[in-house]
């Protein structure tokens, strides 16, 4: 156990922070729902950071750290899938989209060079082409498109690789959500220190302090659990981390909006750039029910049950 960054991890994150510095400031003026920024995506691709998990001396933990850091910015970028899943399928550049169900909206599909489609235990890898999808508008802070058909070049991954892809996708989900809850929380804490009501900052009221303190615990636990899952590269830990944050984000999102008042309802205020991404991730990959099933299956494999009362009664009769 060592919760302190190694020298290499520190150097990596410091360098990545330099790239993120251009994207920490919310975009000025009124803008739409979507947080994604093409320039950010291009800069990430060109930087080489996206391939960190495949580089010697680094791995999925460091990729998860970068994903979490990137997601804490109000400006969005596809990083989780390309950094964590990409190395497993030879995807080295550009956006990788993950489709959890055909016919449903998919994040980053219109921008994607490659696509993973999950269908029960199977995972297909494909190159999406025009006509395979249609862009969607909506209230998500992710760019969304609907997958209309399975792309022509789709091929099924071997079972062991499919399992690894699914595991990394869930780790990416947990890491991205951890960064998003951090970004939303930090923004809200800053706001309640500035916003005055009843002659004092909102942050002086204990009712607000307590809820933001509870949320601070969520932020830190989500981060550590995502990193632990990434370090172990373990399906059970991944599901635990994802379930935790998918469950806890509901309270945190509510609190952040409550404490931002009506400013949090406006598009000029950047809170939605985090929270409306989180709202999508809340149900991603099957949502809490799916992660809970994974956790339960891995933690409590089905035991043989006792004879049931009905069976006994039937026998007696």
């Amino acid at each position: 156990m060592d919760f302190t960054l190694s020298d290499d991890q520190q150097v990596l994150l410091t360098a990545f922070d330099g790239l993120l510095d251009n994207y920490r400031t919310p975009p000025h003026g009124i803008h739409g729902y979507v947080a994604w920024d093409a320039a950010f995506q291009n800069e990430l691709d060109a930087s080489g950071f996206a391939e960190i998990a495949a580089q010697e001396g680094y791995g999925s933990l460091e990729a998860a750290m970068l994903v979490e850091a990137a997601a804490s910015c109000p400006v969005g970028v596809e990083a989780a899938a390309s950094m964590l899943v990409g190395p497993l399928i030879g995807h080295t550049s550009g956006v990788l989209a993950l489709a959890w169900q055909i016919g449903r909206p998919v994040r980053y599909l219109a921008q994607a060079q490659r696509l993973c489609i999950f269908d029960h235990d199977a995972v297909l890898v494909a190159t999406p082409a025009p006509g395979d999808w249609e862009e969607m508008s909506g209230v998500s802070a992710y760019p969304m498109a609907r997958l209309l058909r399975v792309p022509a070049d789709a091929c099924r991954l071997p079972d062991d690789l499919a399992e690894a892809v699914r595991r990394r996708a869930i780790i990416g989900l947990a890491a991205e959500a951890a960064g998003l809850v951090r970004g939303a929380h930090e923004h809200t804490v800053r706001y309640v220190k500035e916003r005055q009501q009843f002659g004092q900052p909102l942050g002086h009221f204990q009712a607000i302090q307590h809820r933001l303190a509870e949320d601070a615990q969520i932020v830190q636990a989500a981060r550590l659990m995502a990193f632990r899952a990434a370090h172990a590269d373990c399906s059970r830990q991944a599901a635990i981390a994802a379930l935790y944050v998918q469950d806890a984000m509901r309270k945190l999102i509510h609190d952040c909006h409550q404490f931002s008042g009506a400013m949090g309802l406006t598009l000029e205020f950047p809170l939605h750039l985090w929270t409306y991404r989180l709202k999508v991730l809340q149900g991603e990959a099957g949502g809490r029910a799916a992660q809970a099933h994974s956790v339960a299956s891995a933690t409590w494999p089905k035991q043989k049950s006792k004879p049931q009362l009905a069976t006994v009664l039937e026998r007696t009769i």
């Binding site: 204990q206 601070a216 172990a232």
Partner: protein
């Protein structure tokens, strides 16, 4: 950053489990369902802890010159997880090794270290914590118990006042006592007071936690001497903060919570009732335990590097309270018969101990105050 255990730590865990298998009596789980401060558990702790000491596992994380064997805070936490999950056979003596001993190590005189640490290492001394009072529980600055120096002897204080909710007091030999030594709110000092001093009266309070957990302690002109004061006069607040940082994350409470959850799920599976709704509730409770584990580990990691900051210890403590509650609620929702019967003594044990988690070592709301102030910088 990495999250694995070393081979040595895995071996330590296995060794301790084998030790428990050899040294816990067959009826231990029934005994453990009593309070750690009960006569039965206290008596057993005086048999168990000396054996644990012989194995070098009682206070292995203390410095070698004070009887430890160079083990790390992580090793001590591995031991704590295994023992708490087993129902804490150290009884009240977990106090000694988790926070009283370390606080004496940090602030004690050589004489105090020689006297008290050696007794703790033998595994047969019980301490109680004289913090809360009718006028000051979570608000520790509101205590009224005074230790006033006598005019005729500047080396001697007389203690007058009352403590309440004091765990383990009836069977304790010493009290880690906080008393006012000056007029200001922060003029407090800590004393290592023998409980057999004339003028001390202990009255048990019946509680849902079990026998031996709660007491009132009255002090009427109780003598305590300068050499029994821990740290400088009037500097008790620093000593208290140090001890609380250790106490708040001293118990790996999530370990017994997880065992309880596993027991409840096994019951549901056995009855073919582990339906998707139960699966979601159980897995969610499990994640609360794992969140608590991660935040506690972070605090242990900080302890490895010096001392934990109050903010992270408070955050960890609050997460532990949430985890305890999540599991207790799961049992009540899905396997209420385990709560209402004696079929699973460790489930009852968990419930009795969990109910106090949000109050002991400072109410959960005080932890939130500290997180808001020290971590988020709110209200300052």
């Amino acid at each position: 950053m990495e999250f694995g255990w070393t081979e040595e730590q895995d071996a330590l865990r296995a060794r301790l489990k084998a030790f428990l298998a050899a040294n816990l009596p067959d009826d231990w789980e029934t005994t453990a369902s009593l309070s750690p401060g009960s006569q039965a558990v206290t008596d057993f702790s005086k048999v168990f802890c000396p054996k644990l000491a012989e194995e070098g596992l009682l206070a292995s994380h203390w410095p070698r010159e004070h009887g430890g064997n160079g083990a790390t805070a992580w090793d001590h936490f591995v031991i704590g997880e295994v023992l708490w999950e087993a129902g804490e056979p150290r009884g009240p003596q977990y106090y000694n090794v988790n926070w009283i001993g370390p606080t004496i190590l940090a602030y004690g005189s050589e004489e105090q270290k020689a006297l008290h640490l050696s007794r703790m290492l033998k595994g047969d001394v019980i301490w109680c914590q004289g913090f809360s009072e009718p006028s000051g529980g979570s608000d520790l600055g509101g205590i009224r118990t005074k230790a006033e120096k006598t005019e005729e002897d500047g080396n001697r204080y007389l203690v007058n006042g009352q403590k309440i909710w004091t765990s383990y007091a009836r069977l304790a030999e010493f009290c880690f006592l906080v008393a006012k030594t000056g007029p200001a709110r922060r003029d407090v000092s800590v004393f290592l007071l023998p409980m057999d001093r004339p003028g001390i009266t202990v009255r048990p309070i019946a509680s849902v936690v079990g026998d031996g957990d709660l007491h009132e302690v009255f002090f009427d002109d109780v003598e305590v001497f300068e050499h029994e004061r821990l740290g400088a006069e009037g500097k008790g607040w620093e000593v208290i903060r140090y001890s609380l940082d250790y106490e708040r994350v001293g118990i790996p409470r999530y370990a017994l919570a997880l065992r309880t959850l596993n027991r409840a799920v096994a019951e549901l599976q056995d009855e073919d009732c582990f339906v998707p709704e139960a699966e979601l509730a159980a897995a969610t409770a499990l994640t609360a335990c794992e969140a608590a584990r991660m935040l506690v580990y972070e605090t242990v990691d900080k302890r490895m590097r010096g001392r934990p900051d109050t903010g992270s210890a408070s955050m960890a403590r609050y997460a532990v309270v949430c985890a305890e509650r999540a599991v207790a609620d799961f049992v009540l929702d899905w396997t209420p018969h385990l709560f209402t019967s004696n079929d699973a003594p460790m489930v009852a044990t968990h419930h009795k101990r969990a109910i106090a988690a949000g109050l002991a070592a400072g109410a959960a709301e005080i932890q939130l105050n500290l997180v808001a102030r020290d971590v988020l910088g709110l209200g300052v």
